[in-house]
Symmetry: C2
Subunit: 395 residues, 2 copies
């Protein structure tokens, strides 16, 4: 029997447990052994009284249990997850995690630590929910020069933008509904301001570019200041608005950014609706590969976790190696932007502008993104909304 | 040093060789050893004079070379490939192949033979060109009940249909152009009559349903009788036409079919143009996962082969297990069809019909596909074209 522990029994933890139970036979056949969840770490053990004696609130019970060969971290807990993973790897237990925050901050450290302790560290569920992307990207980046990644990586913001667009609702109305449905958290900051997408982009780009990327190297912009007037203009011009995470590698320079982007119907991103995610990777052996699926949820994310559990136990994975190539972050990024402000922006940036409902709607020339952001400091954040026109970017 | 042999040095063989050469450093790092192509089997050795002494026309040179631990079969040769793979596995060499014909006929046999000889048998490049689909599907099918697969699996026919649609050309004109460009073979039969897609669907469905599927269980229909008048009607009604490979599992019955299908712009298949492929899988842990990429070509297919080579050498793969579940092929399949004939079809099948350019264009009610095919025996094959309306199917 193979014993494992789950850390956390929220949405993802329950989904993981459920899949392990319902597919016990099939899992046993590939592992050649029975898989058993023998401990589950929870905050409040009392809540699970009468549901078996697998629940514990002491991590040491798991860490010191030599029968447990794998720890599956799904706490969403930013403070403790680092310690949990760090200690499990040092105790020579495999680690699987769905926690993008802790992975994005510690990917190269955990990878090296797992190597050192001859165990596996897998994190498929940290990006794209149900979508198998980490495993294929890791393989693709060995035999390809991946020079671009683009995706919709945050389901909450995509749900909000889709619903505003399709039902002519305001940001606040949709956010409240998303919160009521459990699609958005009580504090939506990380989702709507691009922080969650930034973390995922950082993970993907670190793998693809074989390089430890710093948070400070990623430009980002959220969607919380969007107004119905913006959506109205986008519709008239045939655009949809998406929060896009994108990275480029051009010769020896890379650029990473998360920001609202305007796409037309020729673009595959145009059709990614609701809480779905897409990841596109561009390599020198093909034009692109695209992966589409549900970006979150109990069973979709649990599905990714359980595949990692199997792959970790069978050592069925390519070890990620960081080259730390001599590439560096581009200091400038150019684009053509939609800008909605209270007053006109500087003439030197403008391609065209018009008034609508008391706002000034502008389309900029191809401008340096830093210059544009500097110009916008004139206005209050909540009075501006910017979105890049896709297909006109240049690093 | 790890020595491998390539069988065949056509498009895929050259692509594979090129990628192994250009990514030698990166491959060495994941294998912890140098990868060397030490022999290449070709029909005419003389053609490669002066290009090194790795070329041979005797398979025994490879089979009897104990230093060669992996054989990569890319001959496209239907007669000999079975023997090559069979003998290599028995000689305890790993086998990687891009040959869908031989895989589709022998998947369970080769899988069992590889197991018996404790080597790996991988065939990612046999379906979907560059798209990583066999590896994720194998994993997904362990922890999901996959109940539907749908895809555009043949790039040649998709290229022809896209070009007829976009440029108002006839089937023959486009076929000749595709042949001149190397997108279609001199004998296009397998591509345009759905045979190639059928083979690929058989491979995917065998994995997903954990079942040896027979060719006779797959209904199929090609595109060669399509006329510009059909495309004209599809355009007017907002449809695009795609050669779709699809399988369903419903309770204990499955159905597999390859046929022209009419899709609207809400459908992701609508946007798969030219020689691109898409595969969608539907499982009980998520609604669907979609994979899109180039379906053929030197580097795209070579890319899939090289990943298999790495995964085979590292034993980095889940062993496929055939449950041979107690499921059986549905004897009937229902759908609503577009039918273009010279004369009216039987009234009992009709929902509506009209005349155009001397043809009768009909839309059938939801009918039994077998009944419809029986009715069409009245006409010459080249005078009929049928296409299913997507979204109205029922097993």
């Amino acid at each position: 029997m193979i014993e494992i522990a789950l850390l956390g029994f929220g949405t993802v933890g329950r989904g993981t447990y459920e899949i392990i139970e319902k597919r016990a036979e099939e899992i046993k056949r590939v592992l050649n052994d029975e898989l058993k969840v023998s401990k589950v770490l929870v905050r409040n053990k009392g809540k699970y009284k009468g549901q078996g004696d697998i629940f514990t609130d002491r991590y040491d019970d798991i860490l010191n249990d030599d029968n447990i060969s794998l720890v599956c971290e799904m706490t969403g807990d930013l403070e403790n997850s680092y310690r949990y993973i760090n200690e499990a790897l040092k105790a020579k237990k495999h680690v699987v995690t769905s926690n993008k925050a802790v992975v994005s901050e510690n990917l190269s450290y955990f990878t090296a630590l797992a190597d050192e302790n001859e165990v596996n560290f897998l994190y498929e569920a940290s990006v794209g929910g149900s979508i198998p992307i980490i495993t294929p990207l890791t393989a693709q980046s060995v035999i390809n020069r991946i020079y671009r990644i683009r995706g919709i990586l945050n389901g909450t913001s995509n749900f909000i933008l889709s619903k505003m667009y399709n039902e002519n609702l305001s940001y606040d109305e949709v956010l409240r509904e998303a919160q009521a449905l459990g699609y958005a958290e009580a504090d939506p900051y990380a989702d709507v301001e691009g922080i969650d997408a930034l973390r995922k982009l950082k993970i993907l780009s670190s793998i693809a570019f074989s390089k430890d990327i710093e948070n400070s190297e990623i430009l980002s912009e959220g969607i919380s200041s969007i107004l119905p007037v913006d959506i109205e203009v986008f519709k008239e011009k045939g655009f949809k608005i998406k929060l896009v995470a994108e990275s480029f590698l051009n010769e020896d320079k890379y650029a990473l950014l998360v920001e609202p982007v305007l796409v037309k119907s020729e673009d595959p991103l145009y059709f990614i609706e609701g809480s779905n995610n897409i990841v596109e990777i561009f390599g020198d052996n093909y034009s692109s590969l695209s992966f589409i699926g549900e970006g979150a949820g109990k069973l979709p994310t649990g599905n990714a976790v359980v595949i990692d559990i199997i792959d970790a136990l069978l050592s069925n994975n390519l070890k990620l190696k960081f080259d730390n190539l001599k590439i560096k972050c581009a200091s400038k990024f150019q684009g053509s932007y939609y800008v909605r402000t209270k007053e006109k922006i500087d003439e030197s940036l403008l391609a065209e502008s018009f008034e609508r409902d008391g706002f000034v709607i502008s389309r900029t020339k191809m401008v340096d993104r830093g210059e544009l952001k500097k110009e916008l400091r004139k206005f209050r954040d909540e009075d501006c909304f910017i979105a890049r026109f896709e297909g006109e970017d240049l690093v």
